[in-house]
Symmetry: C2
């Protein structure tokens, strides 16, 4: 009676799947090319290999979380996080906080400091960059928070006539701070795990996004202290290390590529998710898409 | 060096907290009345007690999940879900699916059917209602998916010149279906656990929202089958029962009240979250709010 395929065709391409999200199971005929069809037929040149110097591996007991840094937007933070990682600053660190529908935060606990190595104790806020010359594939759809949204170098972003900035979408990673835009240094990071808190845009520096292992963070037991902080050390999931991928032996790396968001394939993907041509959406084909309702597909390098 | 209070003042009032979300911890001075201040100073008449006939208790080993039904929008589904609950249809049912950044789905497994009692096997889709006479507190802010958004009877909603409908925000509960708007009956339900999949609006019937226990669902281990379905019964969290609150002995009920979204206090809450007057937001006070970035506060009845 109730079909387990319920919601099947409604599948959103959203968040940070390790690869393209699954399409409708066998037995359901799609009325239009599936996302997988589109990706399978894309030219290799529409993909880019992850740069290991811009990639972080966070090692949990449950698996590896992979972060792509965005030095195009936050070069000082990216450099400082790399310096911290190379000082082994994050070895034996912790997940510190999980607040439902908001953020999971991790890094060096305040009460368990480590030497900073060549890293700085404070990094200036990097909340927007000048618009001129910045790659940007705009959406035509209205956005609640910004005059224009789209994708830039693979990341969700917004812009006005002068500046471009990253947007706080699900899976985006920011640098936790206290008061003041320079109140952080990348030694504690957070990821958005619920409805995208776009009111943080241009108030905190975003440094990249989770491209694999998001489910290891989003399922962390929520903390019971104020703001979702854990109240006892025993509740905090250990982090073995955070390393720059280029410092990891080649044989231990996870080799991924990301669809270029300035490619024709990306435009086709956006269109296919913007207007839903499969039967499930026959009542309302939508014809709109939000900047946080899609993300750049990721797949293993063959 | 790194302050654990990072992000403190950035706290979003979002999702389905069991009560008003915590504000900045002691030591931080708010520049404006906090959300808690606003709620503490609100008149009792701005709150409504949950109607037990419109309230479901889903009992998991880890605790109780509470759903407020929305018969204003989905009367047939609300009635059918009540009938199913009263036929003990959901006793020993299961969480069937957890797809990251999308939905958790639960209910009667297809391969373990139960008698429907007086309930129907299929219920017509209830995706919008005529606009005339429907309570609606509009937002002034633009929305990606609808001409106008706001809150209606405590639920996030949208409208055009003719109709009003509920919106797929984090924590909203829908009735899973196969093909066809009438392809479900409330025997399997889902909740949005990530970026709000607003493309489902007017494509699937929403039946209510989680008002307590959301974190018990959002942290479910993600399923590894297509669409996040679990692949073996052992992975599926058991559901002891789903009952209508009015069928539960008074002493075993959870007595909650919800802020009325047609009240002056709600307008003040929305304004306080729309324009952030605390120091953390001094770079960008925002002055915008999305319909899925706020929810009606819930608190215990004193």
């Amino acid at each position: 009676m109730m079909r387990l395929v319920a919601l099947a065709a409604a599948l959103a391409l959203a968040g940070c799947a390790t690869g393209p999200a699954a399409e409708a199971p066998a037995g359901e005929q799609a009325a239009a090319p599936s996302l997988q069809d589109i990706l399978d037929n894309s030219p290799a040149t529409d993909w880019r290999t992850l740069d290991p110097e811009r990639t972080l591996y966070m090692e949990l007991e449950a698996g590896r979380v992979i972060i792509e840094l965005a030095p195009q937007f936050a070069p000082l933070h990216a450099a400082n996080i790399r310096a911290l990682a190379r000082a082994n600053y994050f070895d034996d660190s912790r997940i510190l906080r999980a607040q439902d529908n908001y953020v999971v935060q991790w890094g060096r606990p305040d009460d368990d400091p480590r030497p900073l190595g060549s890293a700085s104790e404070s990094v200036p806020g990097e909340i927007a960059i000048p618009r001129a010359g910045v790659e940007f594939s705009p959406f035509v759809d209205p956005d609640t928070y910004a005059p224009e949204v789209g994708f830039s170098y693979g990341f969700p972003a917004a812009r006005n006539s002068a500046e471009v900035w990253l947007t706080h979408c699900y899976g985006m990673v920011g640098s936790a701070r206290g008061e003041g835009l320079d109140g952080g240094n990348g030694g504690q990071l957070y990821v958005n795990i619920g409805q995208s808190p776009r009111n943080l845009d241009r108030n905190i520096t975003l440094v990249g996004r989770i491209i694999q292992g998001m489910e290891l963070l989003s399922t962390q037991r929520r903390g019971t202290g104020p703001l979702g902080f854990y109240e006892t050390p025993g509740e905090m999931t250990p982090i073995r290390s955070i390393r720059v991928a280029s410092d990891v032996p080649v044989g231990e790396r996870t080799n991924l590529e990301v669809l270029r968001t300035d490619s024709a394939t990306w435009a086709t993907v956006v269109d296919s998710r913007r207007t839903r041509r499969d039967a499930f959406f026959s009542n309302n084909p939508v014809n709109r898409i939000g900047v946080c309702n899609i993300s750049a597909p990721v797949r293993p390098v063959n």
